[in-house]
């Protein structure tokens, strides 16, 4: 920054002094209040301005949990929750990639096919050709990354709309997937393979589960405390009460998923969930704490402004599609793990729609530049909870489709309406 900012305005001696001194603090300024009161006023201000964020989906989740628990008191059982967690993970990881693409203001229609490709590449390399299992997994994920980068390059460098590029990818890669899978059409996951463990491994030990939860909570509290220390110097402190609140919220958020004390009869903490949470934490860090994440939001908000700020817009776009492809392939391995192997049709059907729906239901805007990585988790939880609940009630899958469709529509309506409210509140 230039030292210009530090010099007071030069005033000519012959200009008359202003009639009334400007008050030091404008009464209309928003003051960040400390502690709980601060959160409450901030929350009210955001609601009035139409910044709903994750609120609708959190309310939705609570409603879902209450309704299904009333209808069937096994819904909140550990095994039922573990089921939800396992089914959430693969698609949820794919949804994280979609969140990045949506933040950019674009869409990726190819994630289902890329997931299928990832699974097929792994199966063919590892099972058919006997390559090292780990290496095959890495190569499968890299395949997704390269495919995504190719989509991104067509979009960023040649200017083909992302919608069309990824639609072509959707068709093309599923063709390649079928060709790779050959005549059989399916390759079963061998006993004891890495991919089987992805969704098949559970941390049965209660101590391990509690330990993991404790480590996560402590790390979170430590990072907040560190932040508050550094905030002391400038004028933006965060009250200790707020830290306590935030730290208290984390375990209560996690409890629905971890809840080791209710693990009777269940198999423990699923590895799939741990991996999904790891992906979420890393992706959230990238989105909010790194220059790259900032650039993604900037390009999604105003690509031309981002370009003029010296951001390499093409590189950001290609990277985001590469991330989407990579996570799609990784998620594909989870799906293969759940369904017992790679098939011709893995990643087909409504996989793509579920993944995009999850990101949108979770509160990431379709219009670019607004959203959170965590919406992948929230949205996927909503979708899977509905499925799990309807399964428990013995409801047919056509009903599940209709209800999920209605929830998606509701989410998009909320997104559009909140955007309009924000406009009228001067915020969009």
């Amino acid at each position: 920054m230039s030292d210009l900012a530090k010099t007071p305005t030069s005033t000519d001696s012959d200009t008359p002094a202003p009639a009334a001194p400007v008050p030091a603090v404008d009464p209309r300024l928003l003051v960040r209040e400390e502690g709980l009161a601060g959160y409450w006023t901030e929350f009210k201000r955001k609601m009035r301005g139409g910044e709903l964020g994750s609120l609708p989906v959190v309310i939705g989740l609570i409603v879902i949990a209450v309704v299904f628990q009333l209808k069937n008191d096994h819904f909140l059982d550990a095994s039922s929750l573990a089921n939800i967690a396992v089914f959430t993970s693969g698609l949820g990881i794919m949804a994280v990639g979609i969140v990045f693409v949506l933040l950019l203001g674009e869409i990726d229609l190819s994630v289902g096919s890329v997931a299928g490709m990832g699974a097929a590449v792994w199966a063919v390399l590892s099972v058919t050709h006997g390559l090292n299992d780990w290496l095959a997994v890495v190569l499968a994920v890299l395949t997704g990354l390269v495919i995504g980068a190719v989509h991104g390059a067509f979009f960023a460098k040649i200017g083909v709309p992302a919608f069309v590029v990824t639609l072509a990818g959707f068709l093309g890669w599923s063709g390649l997937q079928i060709w790779l899978m050959g005549g059989e059409g399916s390759i079963n996951t061998p006993e004891g393979s890495v991919v089987e463990d992805l969704t098949g491994h559970f941390f049965a030990d209660k101590a391990a589960a509690y330990g993991l939860a404790a480590v996560a909570i402590l790390a979170y509290a430590a990072s907040l405390l560190l932040d508050s220390k550094r905030r002391k110097a400038p004028r933006c402190p965060r009250a200790v009460s707020a830290i306590v609140l935030r730290t208290a919220v984390v375990p209560s958020r996690g409890r629905r998923r971890v809840r080791p004390e209710r693990a009777r009869g269940a198999r423990g903490l699923p590895l799939a969930l741990v991996l999904f949470l790891a992906v979420l934490v890393i992706a959230d860090f990238v989105a909010r704490r790194t220059t790259f994440g900032r650039q993604v939001f900037a390009v999604g908000g105003n690509a031309e402004a981002a370009r003029r700020a010296g951001i390499n817009v093409d590189r950001v776009r290609i990277t985001v599609f590469a991330i989407s492809g990579m996570l799609a392939a990784f998620g594909g391995l989870f799906i293969a793990s759940l369904s017992g192997g790679a098939t011709k049709s893995l990643g087909g059907g409504n996989t793509l729609m579920m993944v995009i729906a999850a990101a949108v239901i979770g509160g990431t805007s379709l219009f670019g530049g607004r959203g959170k990585v965590w919406s992948a988790l929230l949205g996927m939880l909503v979708i899977q909870s509905i499925q799990q609940g309807l399964n428990l009630l013995g409801m047919a899958s056509e009903i599940q489709y209709m209800i999920t469709g209605a929830v998606l529509l509701a989410a998009v309506v909320i997104d559009s309406v909140s955007r309009r409210t924000q406009k009228s509140a001067g915020r969009a």
Partner: protein, 263 residues
């Protein structure tokens, strides 16, 4: 004033499809000098600014930086040289908050993680010295008024230490008080040895702070004047391309009208 201009445009041309926006334009900016760039709407002022800042690379001609010819092919090149631009359309990201906008493209980091606290602190310092009243540095820019957005865009240009600052109609959306502050700022920039290009339609502002006035008309140079010994009429004549123009005619009418009324 130094002998070699810090920035010089020589015979610069720029075409957009069928529109020849700039033809053979020359312009020199020295350190510690404020050059006003004036011209009618569509004269090519903003286009000229964008060629300097790398938004639209030039088709023909040369750009010299401190005497050396340079290629400005993208905004990054201009920033590396030390050109900071406040665009007419502001070029802010509405979804990002004030701090994020101020530091966009030059984020402060500690250990490769964004240092939000340092950025927020610097942003407050910067906005305080510009006497800018903004509800909070942490609300999205979309929530600000036109004037507030304008001032954020100006503050943005002062992050990093530019050698040449370009302001494209910076006071168009501002009130009396803030306009005066921007003019103060322009003078401070000059005192500190920055070169400033100021685009404005307001002759009073131009007269108040500029050393020289460069006139563009239909994408060509139409004279450069020293502010000290040029009248408004001469500049307006150069802008409109005629001594007999709407401004002089109106002036003549209003000058005679009171006399007739007094009789």
């Amino acid at each position: 004033m130094s002998a070699t201009p810090v920035l010089a445009l020589r015979g610069v041309s720029k075409r957009f499809g069928a529109v020849q926006a700039l033809t053979d334009v020359d312009l020199e900016i020295h350190t510690g000098e404020v050059v006003a760039l004036v011209g009618d709407n569509g004269a090519g002022k903003s286009t000229l600014v964008k060629t300097i800042s790398g938004v639209h690379p030039i088709d023909d001609g040369t750009i010299e930086w401190e005497g050396r010819p340079v290629r400005i092919g993208r905004p990054h090149d201009a920033q590396n040289l030390g050109v900071a631009t406040v665009y007419q359309d502001l070029a802010l990201c509405d979804n990002l908050d004030v701090v994020a906008n101020l530091f966009l493209g030059s984020e402060l980091k500690s250990a490769s993680v964004l240092d939000e606290i340092k950025m927020e602190k610097r942003a407050r310092e910067l906005l305080d010295t510009l006497s800018i009243r903004i509800p909070s540095v942490r609300i999205p820019v979309a929530a600000l008024s036109g004037g507030q957005r304008q001032v954020v865009a100006i503050a943005r240009a002062l992050v990093g230490d530019p050698k040449v600052v370009i302001l494209d109609e910076p006071t168009a959306a501002l009130g009396v008080e803030q306009t005066a502050q921007v003019l103060d700022l322009v003078e401070r920039l000059r005192e500190r040895g920055h070169g400033v290009i100021l685009i404005s339609h307001n002759m009073a502002d131009v007269k108040a702070v500029a050393d020289r006035v460069a006139v563009l008309r239909l994408g060509r140079n139409n004279g450069t004047f020293s502010v000290a010994d040029t009248t408004n009429e001469e500049i307006i004549a150069a802008i409109t391309g005629a001594t007999d123009n709407a401004v002089t005619r109106r002036k003549a009418r209003t000058a005679t009208a009171p006399k007739e009324g007094a009789k």
